[in-house]
């Protein structure tokens, strides 16, 4: 139905509405360029907006993200497409890219929804809430999370029973089941890819028991339990709702591990685990937190001091990678490892195990371009041909990379990398 394809032009396209994409979009827009920000999820803010606090300053992640997010969404120079996916990108010439974008329906008129959540109350369907990393349920008519931007409802059509209860409940009557996918062809002069990373799927390491033992959770699930917009009002283990008192962190779950195809270090897990340990010590003063590690990589500004602080607070650090995890009849978990400092095998019981999952590449981007125009590195991160002098440049002129799309990074590094990508994009746009 070519007649329905909409066309638009912008100076720059930023793909990915996480913290890196958002920062890049703001930099461009603040310097007078028109930006289209495409986000495949329902809300911008990426993973950062869902985090609890951030290391090493322990300030609230949402408090840093939400002002940025609202600045982005209010900026007159930035057009945001949420729930939209880039499908194809062709470089037609110098400073001319043609980008096909599919805007998927959310079945709610975005402009009219006030975020009153009455549809959510009315909806009878309950499914696992992906924004709480499946810790709790949500409705099929739902607002992704309380600080989502746009804070607008959406209908999860795959799980919706089309009962119409939400339609009846909605005061401004903005629920619209007739919405269709919209196709756009967008012409832009420059592109910034900020597609971020994926979390390692711990199901790939069955001996750690994720998905088998209920009290083995991922670090992102713990992150949600600690966040201000947390699902429960305290920390509990999923198996029986008990407040845990002996918590273990399994570092390098899916990182520095050639057997799962990811031999590189994810760069963030040590620090976020230390941060969570500190927050847990605060939330559960009686709890015992142990971090099992190979090497602690607290390398950034203030990180080493943060690590020392955790040791001072009484977080246990044991050098030794967990070999396997088994469960006893109480639902507690037995961790088997070699305590390297003592040079001997040990087994220790914990009532909650947090797998510190690594970051792996999100290689969506390569498929948008034809014939390998956009090169990836051996780990499927976007290849940086001039990583020393121009880290934001990719193998294709006019296409820049920001944040963790080019490799593991923490938040400050992602933001700096986004600054670099926007600098390169701005000078590319200005240059004759």
């Amino acid at each position: 139905m070519p007649g329905n394809i909409k066309e638009a032009s912008f100076d720059a396209l930023v793909i990915g509405g996480g913290i890196a994409g958002g920062e890049a979009a703001l930099n461009l827009a603040n310097n007078g360029f028109s930006v289209l920000l495409v986000e495949k999820d329902l809300s911008i803010g990426g993973k950062m907006i869902l985090l609890s606090k951030v290391f090493p300053t322990l300030d609230c992640s949402a408090c840093i993200t939400t002002p940025k997010v609202s600045e982005i969404s209010r900026h007159p120079g930035i057009k945001i497409f949420t729930r939209s996916e880039v499908t194809h990108i062709v470089k037609r010439g110098e400073k001319l890219f043609e980008v096909d974008i599919t805007k998927k329906p959310r079945y709610v008129a975005e402009e009219d929804c006030t975020g009153c959540q009455l549809c959510e109350t009315a909806c009878p369907v309950i499914v696992p809430d992906q924004y709480q990393y499946d810790l709790v349920g949500r409705k099929a008519a739902f607002i992704p999370f309380s600080i989502a931007s746009p804070r607008v409802a959406a209908i999860d059509i795959e799980n919706c029973t089309l009962c119409g209860a939400c339609e009846k409940a909605c005061p401004p009557q903005c629920i619209d089941f007739t919405q269709k996918e919209e196709e756009y062809i967008v012409r832009v002069k420059a592109i910034i890819i900020a597609t971020g990373f994926n979390l390692f799927d711990p199901l790939l390491i069955p001996r750690f028991g994720f998905g088998i033992f209920k009290n083995v959770i991922t670090s992102m699930q713990m992150e949600r339990q600690l966040a201000p917009t947390r699902p429960f009002n305290t920390i509990l283990r999923p198996g029986d709702g008990k407040v845990p008192c002996k918590i273990a962190y399994v570092l390098c779950t899916g990182s520095r591990d050639a057997t799962v195809g990811n031999p590189i270090c994810s760069q963030i897990c040590c620090m976020y685990s230390i941060k969570q340990a500190q927050l847990l010590m605060g939330a559960l003063p009686m709890a015992d937190v142990t971090i099992y590690y190979i090497n602690i990589r607290s390398f950034g500004k203030g990180f080493e001091e943060f690590y020392e602080q955790a040791k001072g607070m009484g977080v246990n650090f044991i050098k030794g990678k967990i070999g396997k995890i088994t469960e006893n009849e109480k639902g507690d978990l037995i961790l088997r490892y070699e305590d390297i400092n003592e040079n001997r095998l040990k087994e220790t019981e914990h009532d909650l195990v947090v797998l510190s999952v690594g970051s792996i590449a999100n290689h969506d981007a390569a498929a948008w371009f034809s014939d390998g125009e956009l090169k990836l590195d051996p780990f499927n991160f976007i290849y940086q041909p001039d990583s020393l002098a121009s880290p934001a440049k990719t193998s294709l002129g006019g296409v820049f990379v920001a944040g963790t799309a080019s490799g593991p990074m923490d938040i400050p590094d992602s933001i700096l990398s986004a600054g670099a990508a926007s600098a390169e994009a701005i000078s590319y746009l200005i240059r004759q």
Partner: protein, 134 residues
Amino acid sequence: MPGISIKSARILVFSTEKISDPAIDMAGLLKLHYPPTVYTITVPCSSSIKPKWILRAYEKGFDGVFIAADGSDCPYGETCTEKTGKLVQRTHEIMKEKNIEPARLKMAAICSVCSESFVKQMKNFNEYLLKNIS
């Protein structure tokens, strides 16, 4: 209807735009309840509150004044806590002179996500004021 018959103290809260205000907002978002006679005036930084404003509140009938300070999160620098502390101290002195119970002025750091702590503070302060002042 609960709540109507229960009398609550009138509390004026000075909160800050970037730090404690979001926490108070979030208390509402999380439907955490506190006495409805708590009113908020927003200022840029807790160290910018003039003692005479506080005194005026008592004059006009407020039972208590609560300063929701920035603490170390203040965007205007770390000296904020110390400066706010000083102005509270000074106000306490004037209050003594004027025979106003100094405990009617309270200060505590409320970080941008300290909703629970804010609500707790309000409840305790309210109880205290009801018991000791009016």
